[in-house]
């Protein structure tokens, strides 16, 4: 299997276009909404004064009314890795604040995504093999329920049961208070112990769509002509399902992965607030409450860049899974 160069080029160009769109939106939206962002920020923060507003205006390049000039300044700062100074964490640069928070979010999101796929597929396959059975019906019912409640409510319920009532896991935070005194193994243990509930609730919140997608696709695939042929050839049920069925049912599920990523990140943001987990979501929440605009914009950019990067990787893996995409 060889990836065609034209396909790779197209996906990379698309990723770059998305990135540019995200940057332009990040630049333009606050300016379009109206008013003078510097004035607004100055008036809404503790630092508020005419001098602060003037300083901010300079920093944003707002002293020059030309949007093109402002955009040039914005891009220059961005290329230098300068996302401004966080007001709430003054004088720490936004870049550093985000950099410290990113591993927590990335870790939980990645593990939760893998976990929810594994569970979702297992349940989806079992359901699709016997549609209408009690297992299938209850899996469907639970899936619809999960899809109908806010992510953070699932997190709260897990805290109530497993942290508050049963006391198996901590109520929140990412590390224990005595973290610095722990041995290296103890540190890892503490991190894992604290991550279980956030990861579990995130996985649970997104497992429903995986179940539904895989189940419905597998049922459709199992009724295709080539499955009838496989049966006529006398292939075992096991071989039919695992070698023919799942391979084909898997494809839309993989496409769904790219689309669902945004949802998972959105879920992670609220989930971190529930668990006081020190990732990007917690930062965003604090930034909103404290009107820390540079941090909000920086967080948006980090989320956009991560998702665009993961999408690009998924796009480049895709031809190996489905050789047909190379053709068009």
């Amino acid at each position: 299997m060889k990836i065609q160069l034209s396909y790779v080029v197209r996906r990379v160009v698309f990723a770059i276009a998305t990135l540019i769109a995200a940057i332009i939106m990040n630049f333009l939206l606050p300016r379009l909404i109206g008013g003078d962002p510097a004035e607004m920020i100055a008036s809404q923060t503790a630092l508020g004064s005419a001098e602060v507003a003037e300083g901010l205006r300079k920093q944003f390049g707002l002293d020059n009314p030309s949007l093109i000039h402002q955009f040039g300044k914005y891009i220059t700062q961005l290329l230098q890795g300068n996302l401004g100074i966080s007001y709430f964490n003054y004088p720490v640069p936004v870049k550093d604040v985000l950099w410290n928070a990113l591993p927590w979010t990335l870790g939980t999101v990645v593990i939760a995504t893998l976990l929810s796929y594994a569970i979702g597929w297992l349940i989806g396959i079992k359901g699709a093999l016997k549609p209408g059975s009690w297992f299938d019906n209850s899996a469907l019912g639970v899936s619809f329920f999960i899809n109908s409640v806010p992510y953070f409510w699932i997190g709260i319920m897990l805290i109530v049961i497993f942290a508050y009532k049963l006391d198996w896991f901590p109520l929140g935070q990412a590390i224990s208070v005595d973290y610095d005194t722990l041995s290296p193994m103890g540190k890892v243990g503490s991190i894992v112990h604290h991550a279980v509930l956030p990861v579990l609730s995130l996985a649970l919140a997104s497992v429903a769509s995986h179940i539904l997608v895989l189940r419905n696709n597998l049922i459709r695939v199992l009724s295709e002509d080539y499955m009838v042929l496989a049966r006529a050839k006398g292939l075992s049920a096991r071989r039919r399902v695992f070698h023919y069925g799942i391979r084909n049912a898997f494809l839309p599920s993989f496409t769904g992965f790219m689309l669902s990523l945004g949802h998972v990140v959105g879920g992670a943001i609220t989930m971190e607030i529930v668990f006081s987990y020190p990732g990007i979501g917690m930062l965003i929440n604090n930034a909103i409450l404290n009107h820390d605009y540079p941090l909000i914009q920086g967080a948006f950019l980090v989320i956009a860049v991560s998702i665009i990067a993961v999408n690009l990787i998924a796009d480049l893996i895709y031809p190996f899974i489905d050789p047909r995409v190379n053709l068009n």
């Binding site: 939106m25 956009a304 998702i307």
Partner: protein
């Protein structure tokens, strides 16, 4: 206009799922618009003792501020209902316009529109909402509805587009062209009526998403702090440590209300799609 009347559809106008979903939604509509008249206590009334457990006087107890949770839940229904229905409606109008146009006109119109949709699909909508909402000068109910309504149409546009593409292949479009109908007439008078069920199914899912988005935004601290919605009730319960006070009556009912409300829409949507499939055969494309 094309009408297909198969016997499958003749016996019953509404199937069980549609009826059940409709009944749930009617219940919530009643709670939203008549509820405030019959709610036990006035909105934001804080005259009671805090953390009271449920009793006949307070069906769902009181919260940390001494408000009757049951009454707040009823007032919240109105906000959540309005956000869901109006934002869902705005989303649907944009989704249909973009999807129909992109599906009907080939070449560059379609390519350009879908390129924009694909671009925006990758950037998480919640992040966009956060940016927009935090820079808006004030965040009232109207702004919340607009932010959600204007940013949620992407999936829908894709789904309407692929359905339009398949409708365009059908004979009746060709026939309409032969009769001399303009593009606009074919789109609005011929194709649009045939898209109705899929529009209805999408309307249902965007409405559900809007209710969940409102809850999520409230939880993030974006939104009108004075308004009462299921989302703000849950947010207050969380920030006031309802878990530590064992106040399940403050945490569980708003979640169940959201779930039930959304489930009503899901039932209605699935029922509508099933009826559509039974009527038109199973060769429809949904994406």
């Amino acid at each position: 206009m094309k009408k297909v009347n198969l016997p499958l559809d003749g016996s019953r106008r509404w199937n069980g799922k549609q009826l059940a979903g409709g009944a749930i939604l009617a219940f919530f509509a009643a709670a939203a618009f008549i509820g405030p008249l019959i709610a036990p206590y006035p909105k934001n009334d804080i005259e009671f003792e805090a953390w009271l457990t449920p009793s006949m006087k307070h069906l769902l107890g009181t919260d940390s501020y001494g408000q009757d949770v049951f009454s707040q839940l009823i007032y919240g229904t109105q906000t959540s209902f309005l956000v869901g229905v109006i934002a869902g409606f705005i989303t649907t109008i944009i989704g249909v316009l973009v999807g129909l146009t992109a599906g009907f006109y080939r070449k560059w119109v379609s390519d350009a529109l879908m390129f924009i949709v694909d671009l925006l699909l990758i950037i998480p909508v919640i992040a966009l909402m956060i940016i927009l909402a935090s820079f808006l000068p004030s965040m009232g109910l109207t702004s919340i509805i607009l932010v959600i309504g204007l940013l949620s149409w992407l999936y829908m546009a894709r789904s309407i587009r692929s359905q339009t593409l398949s409708e365009k292949q059908r004979g009746y479009v060709e026939a309409a062209r032969v009769v001399g109908m303009s593009n606009f007439e074919i789109m609005t008078k011929e194709i649009l009526p045939n898209l109705f069920p899929i529009i209805a199914a999408n309307l249902v899912s965007v409405t559900t998403q809007a209710v969940l988005a409102e809850a999520g935004l409230s939880f993030l601290g974006i939104g009108d702090p004075r308004s009462v919605s299921w989302g703000t009730i849950l947010t207050l319960a969380h920030t006031n440590n309802a878990i530590m006070y064992d106040a399940w009556w403050w945490i569980i009912p708003p979640g169940i209300a959201i779930a039930l409300f959304c489930y009503g829409f899901v039932l209605l949507g699935n029922g509508t799609l099933e009826r559509f499939r039974a009527k038109r055969g199973a060769q429809q494309h949904f994406s």
